[in-house]
């Protein structure tokens, strides 16, 4: 089985994440049958790593052999792009029996349906790699990071869970940092803490978007955050 060719899966860059689309989602996370996505591995384990807006899936493919025991899921809103990732994973599983069983992709709108798929505190890691910048002020509400969505991400993340972000757009980097730092359920990791994490170096070039930025000699800004417990006392 050959790897899929990207030329058949190209699609317009942006789709409106706020409009209604045809998405299938379970009414409750318990109703979702994960064994379709992880036929070889699914048993008692749940998805722990989530790549939000995974694009062509490069991060999943890189992390899969590094964490063979963890289930990882990519979320992608575009029909063709998510189908490409799916075909890519199926082909990899055939070419490398026993491998790539822990990664899968799901087409959904991550801004709307996360609580339908994941329980409170289920995730250990979330990734936002090169998210769409939505430069215009009027489109800022489409940004995948904002004050209100961070509450949803905090809800599905375990305490001490980690959020990784990288972008080539300085303004978006600053926007993400401000929103995470202002949110009481997140704190930023220091430079020192990043050094010991083997995932950090993979953020730069695992994905197709990261490789494109390298080709164009673009800058890359990394920021990583930890989900902390609520300090609120009444």
């Amino acid at each position: 089985m050959a790897l899929p060719q990207k030329k058949y899966y190209r699609q317009r860059a942006h789709s409106n994440p706020i409009a209604d689309h045809c998405f299938d989602y379970p009414a409750h996370p318990d109703e979702y049958n994960w064994s379709n996505l992880y036929p070889a591995l699914h048993g008692n384990s749940e998805v722990e790593f989530l790549d939000v807006g995974c694009g062509y899936g490069g991060l999943l493919v890189t992390l899969s052999p590094m964490y063979p025991k963890q289930l990882m899921l990519g979320l992608e809103i575009r029909v063709k792009v998510s189908d490409y990732v799916n075909d890519r994973i199926q082909a990899l599983r055939v070419q490398h029996p026993e491998m790539y069983q822990n990664i899968a992709v799901l087409r959904t709108n991550a801004m709307k349906y996360l609580p339908n798929f994941f329980h409170k505190g289920q995730l250990q890691k979330m990734f936002f790699l090169y998210p769409d910048p939505h430069f215009k002020k009027a489109k800022h509400k489409w940004r995948i990071i904002n004050k209100w969505l961070l509450s949803e991400y905090a809800y599905i993340l375990a305490e001490q869970g980690i959020v990784y972000t990288i972008t080539d757009v300085k303004d978006l980097h600053e926007w993400m940092v401000v929103h995470f730092e202002e949110h009481p359920l997140f704190e930023r990791l220091s430079k020192g803490e990043l050094e010991s994490d083997p995932i950090i170096e993979k953020l730069y070039e695992s994905t197709e978007e990261g490789q494109k930025v390298t080709r164009n000699n673009g800058d890359k800004y990394v920021a990583v955050f930890r989900r902390i417990s609520d300090k609120w006392k009444d």
């Binding site: 058949y8 706020i18 209604d20 689309h21 045809c22 009414a27 409750h28 996370p29 029909v79 063709k80 189908d83 087409r107 801004m111 709307k112 609580p115 339908n116 409170k120 004050k147 209100w148 961070l150 509450s151 949803e152 905090a154 809800y155 949110h183 009481p184 359920l185 609520d230 609120w232 009444d234």
Partner: protein, 374 residues
């Protein structure tokens, strides 16, 4: 959209930009200032505080939130909302008003202050109801996307949980009157659900649309919605009201789309075990525009003839029934020109029109692959 509110000894009905406030001896009228020259501006929600000291209302086009003193009916505070709202509710201590709006935001207004109005939380879906628990610790909101969200208060950035399981929009939520550990909800999926809201656990379900003793109604509605590209399997619940009956049970009133009977249930919880019983189906001439309970009296409002009916409970040994107690003509000595929109049609916009771009893509892909094989 609710055009009726009542507490122990007063009731208020809204029509267009006008309110008839009745204290069971006399009617007083109130006219909301016309801010714009639009004819469709109207009051879309009205509510009386639990201590009967305030009346609050919101308008559709001019987006006003106005709080009046009761019983004088003098204006106390007014605000302009940032976005069109669907529902307002007083906080349990009656010092704030919670606003649920159509863009998915919940706002809080402290009406003792001038420039109040703070966003507490946001869904990415039209909100239909909001409430605060009696202990003030949680704000609960529900939306067009089948979701009920439980947020901590005042730290609303912390989502306690979601109550998930409805299959269509959730149009009403209430604290279970006889046991405030639970909330109850109604939905376009025709079901009433009961939840342990701190843990987001579904405790009990009443499939109310199964009690509609006329199958044609559902077929008719499905057909009409099908023409609009929406697949509907059950008749939606339109109105929902609950009240405490005794220490172990609550009385529930439900209206179902196009069904001219009011379904009455009792819901009992003994040692956290839920049980329900259908008590009565009250036939009505016209589908009511609003229903509610005051203690164990059921209030119905007919907005075509502007009649409020009060039915009181008759508790014979075995079954609970309702009996007409009195009828009150509203807006009798005031002419109000306003075309009431059928609440039965309003519900249609809450369904999501689904367009499927996946199937078409898969078809084309199949053709491409077949071509290569040939």
């Amino acid at each position: 959209m609710t055009c009726l509110s009542a507490s122990q000894n007063n009731l208020a009905v809204a029509r267009g930009l006008h309110v008839d406030y009745y204290n069971f001896t006399k009617h007083s009228y109130l006219d909301v200032p016309e801010k714009l020259n639009t004819h469709d501006d109207h009051i879309c929600d009205i509510t009386i505080s639990s201590d009967s000291s305030y009346l609050a209302l919101i308008t559709t086009v001019s987006k006003q939130l106005i709080i009046y003193n009761l019983p004088q009916l003098t204006e106390y505070k007014s605000f302009i909302l940032p976005r069109s709202a669907s529902k307002i509710r007083f906080s349990p201590n009656n010092i704030n008003v919670l606003v649920a709006d159509k863009s998915g935001d919940v706002l809080i207004y402290d009406f003792s202050k001038e420039n109040s109005g703070t966003k507490l939380l946001g869904h990415l879906s039209l909100l239909l109801d909001v409430l605060q628990t009696h202990d003030m610790k949680y704000i609960i909101s529900c939306d067009r996307d089948e979701k009920i969200r439980v947020s901590c208060y005042p730290n609303t950035y912390n989502i306690q949980t979601y109550c998930l399981g409805h299959k269509e929009f959730v149009n009403h939520i209430e604290i279970l009157p006889h046991n405030d550990k639970y909330i109850t909800s109604s939905s376009g999926d025709g079901n009433v659900k009961f939840w342990d809201y701190v843990n987001g656990k579904l405790c009990y379900n009443i499939n109310a649309c199964l009690d509609v003793d006329n199958n044609e109604l559902c077929e008719l509605f499905s057909k009409r919605m099908d023409e609009e590209g929406v697949e509907v399997l059950n008749l939606p619940i339109v109105h929902y009201a609950v009240t405490k009956f005794n220490k172990d049970s609550s009385l529930i009133a439900v209206t179902i789309h196009s069904f001219n009977k009011i379904l009455i249930y009792t819901l009992q919880t003994i040692d956290n075990q839920f049980k329900h019983q259908k008590e009565e189906m009250i036939p009505v001439q016209k589908f009511p525009a609003a229903i509610m309970f005051i203690k164990c009296s059921l209030i119905l409002y007919d907005d075509i003839d502007c009649i409020v009916s009060i039915l009181s409970v008759v508790n014979s040994n075995e079954r609970i029934t309702f009996q007409m107690d009195k009828q009150i003509k509203m807006f009798e000595d005031k002419i109000v020109n306003f075309n009431v929109k059928l609440s039965l049609d309003a519900i249609k916009i809450l369904y999501k029109r689904k367009f499927d771009n996946v199937q078409e893509y898969q078809e084309r892909k199949k053709q491409r692959i077949e071509k290569v094989v040939q």
